[in-house]
């Protein structure tokens, strides 16, 4: 928006051409006001730049430290007391398991809930209660989900400190976000398509599965990818339900104990020795690279498909 600049230049040309004294110029504070406008703009630009530079600086610091121990051996080794031999292999596998389990829980439920709320349910008291409820669940701190997992999955269903308990907890944790992104994706599908399908004699469910869902799929996918990066980074709930701090074997079934990348990072970071901090930094590089890849691809998919509305 260059309105101000346009107005300002109009004003100056107006002043030059006019022989009569200019009422605006006579006021006397216009130059000061234009100056303060300029200062404001510069202040905002420099603050934005500084904030971004500061964040880039501290994150590149982690990367700088992280490359110290980051090599293939780091990825394929078990954690150990000896920092030079330590690695994140079991944690990495634990994270892969957790992502798989959490998605297996959350994708069907959130897609189903989104379809029901967006396409099937008529506006009613019941629906508005669910709406408010989902919005509130999204604001519950992740550590409370950890407590829920501890009481329900670990104790009540006595799954113990297994992958299953961790995966279910994380699945519930991402549910509210996934439901709302899936709903947004469904809501963006043009009504004309639904009406056309219904006019051709398709049933409501056929319309949803054959017409609406395929169109909404890319945006849903970007929501799922964002949730994956959230699952990968979540630490607190896993600590609460008791992810193992030290694990010397690879989890083989969903009932095994597990570790995860952020848990491993936490254990290294909580130690006083400098060498373990470097290991933690290496773990963070792995974590951030994975999270950034997921986040960036979610953003790219979203930007690509939001421009292309039918």
């Amino acid at each position: 928006m260059n309105n101000t600049a346009a107005i300002a230049s109009n004003l100056t040309s107006f002043q030059k051409e006019n022989i009569e004294p200019n009422p605006l110029a006579e006021d006397g504070n216009l130059p000061r006001r234009i100056r303060s406008e300029k200062y404001t703009r510069w202040f905002l630009i420099s603050l934005a730049t500084m904030t971004i530079l500061f964040l880039v600086a501290i994150i590149s610091d982690v990367f700088y430290e992280g490359f110290h121990y980051l090599d293939w051996q780091f990825i394929t080794s078990f954690p150990s007391r000896f920092y030079e031999k330590s690695g994140i292999y079991p944690a990495l596998l634990g994270t892969v398991w957790l992502v798989g389990l959490a998605l297996a829980v959350s994708i069907p439920i959130s897609v189903g809930a989104a379809i029901y709320l967006e396409e099937i349910a008529p506006p009613s008291k019941f629906k508005s209660i669910i709406d408010i409820n989902i919005a509130n669940l999204a604001g519950v701190p992740s550590i409370v989900y950890g407590i829920l997992g501890l009481a329900v999955f670990v104790r009540f269903f006595s799954l113990d400190r297994s992958l299953l308990a961790g995966g279910f907890t994380l699945g519930l944790l991402v549910l509210p976000i996934m439901i709302s992104t899936c709903r947004e994706a469904l809501a963006a599908v043009p009504n004309a398509i639904k009406q056309a399908a219904l006019c051709l004699g398709a049933s409501k469910i056929e319309t949803i599965f054959y017409q609406v869902l395929p169109i909404a799929l890319p945006s849903m996918l970007s929501g799922v990818i964002l949730s994956v990066s959230r699952i990968i980074g979540e630490t607190a709930p896993l600590l609460i339900i008791g992810a193992a701090s030290y694990i010397s074997y690879v989890p083989e079934s969903v009932f095994d104990e597990f570790s995860a990348i952020p848990i491993q990072i936490y254990n290294w970071a909580a130690r006083p020795q400098q060498e373990f901090h470097l290991l933690a930094a290496s773990g963070i590089v792995v974590l951030l690279v994975v999270v950034f890849i997921f986040n960036i691809s979610a953003i790219v998919i979203r930007n690509k498909y939001t421009g292309r509305r039918l």
Binding site: S110, G112, G139, V140, L148, A202, A236
Partner: protein, 308 residues
């Protein structure tokens, strides 16, 4: 090929076969919507039931108003105020740091930045929002605390200030995106009217647009405050584990979330008072964040009513 065949029948699929199939699908969809209610119910039941065991042993007034907290070691004291204070201290500091920075960024993005700059900066902010909190905790102890100790040598290794600084970075995306939305949703007519009266851009923005967007901005701040209180890993790593009612940001404090982590890490045996204290603190945390979130929702609802 039959003549006059009905293509709909010929191409009939698993979705159009029978009413039982439809009923099953409908049932599945409906019950998945119900699961969100179940989760809320489960959270409430777990917190209420387990906290009630705690409140059998400790009276609720002692819990809420006493100022000594040491549930894990003898002599046990169950006054929750020190860890509530720890949470409020760190979140309060983080909010007061992030309001000026976040609002300036939001104003810049909504009113000043070109479409091109916006296209670069907005994804960067989203990336910042995606950084896991454990990373910020690590940054706090390896980057922020050493810098603080260089300038203020009396700083403890675990201190509240370092935690506040990283929590600031964590809640910044919330404030920036939501305030940006609030400012952008102010009708263009308001700005045009200002320009027609020959006011400068900054005058319009600071005297007209921001006041108009105020309730949305406050909603974003309240939401960010609630996020800061619920934030766990960064404060656990950076602020330490000393329940402490202090105004000195350079000392170690313990937050509610850090206590929950500490208590559950130590293999607290099931059924003991320590175990139940975990749930009592979590219940309190849940109540605080829930009421902040509801307050924030109410504020945004007002905005929508005002502009529609």
């Amino acid at each position: 090929m039959k003549e006059n065949s009905n293509i709909l029948i010929e191409k009939s699929s698993w979705l159009s076969v029978n009413t039982i199939g439809k009923m099953i699908i409908n049932l599945f969809l409906r019950s998945s919507a119900l699961i969100s209610i179940l989760i809320t119910a489960a959270i409430c039941i777990v917190l209420v039931v387990e906290s009630s065991h705690f409140l059998e042993a400790v009276s609720i007034t002692d819990f809420l108003f006493k100022t000594e907290w040491s549930p894990l070691i003898e002599p046990r004291k169950f006054g929750v105020l020190p860890i509530v204070w720890g949470s409020l201290l760190i979140s309060g500091m983080a909010i007061s740091l992030s309001i000026p920075i976040g609002l300036s960024l939001a104003v810049y993005l909504a009113e000043y930045a070109s479409a091109k700059t916006k296209k670069i900066v907005k994804p960067l902010i989203e990336l910042l929002a995606g950084i896991p909190s454990i990373v910020f905790g690590f940054l706090a102890i390896t980057v922020v605390t050493p810098i603080l100790r260089y300038f203020l040598p009396e700083t403890d290794f675990f201190n509240a200030l370092s935690a506040s600084i990283v929590v600031t970075a964590m809640i910044l995306p919330t404030i920036v995106t939501l305030s940006d939305d609030a400012i952008s949703s102010v009708p263009q007519a308001l700005r045009d009217a200002g320009f027609a009266l020959a006011t400068t851009k900054s005058e319009i923005v600071f005297r007209q647009v921001i006041p108009a967007a105020m309730s949305g901005i406050i909603a974003s701040i309240v939401l960010a405050f609630s996020r800061a209180i619920g934030e766990t890993m960064a404060v656990t790593l950076a602020a330490g584990a000393t329940p402490n009612i202090t105004l000195n940001m350079l000392e170690s404090v313990q937050t509610m979330t850090a206590f929950i982590v500490q208590a559950s890490m130590g293999d607290t045996p099931h059924g003991t008072i320590e175990y139940y204290s975990l749930f009592a603190v979590a219940g309190l945390l849940f109540l605080i964040t829930l009421s902040l979130n509801i307050f924030s929702k109410m504020l945004t609802k007002n905005v929508r009513r005002k502009f529609s």
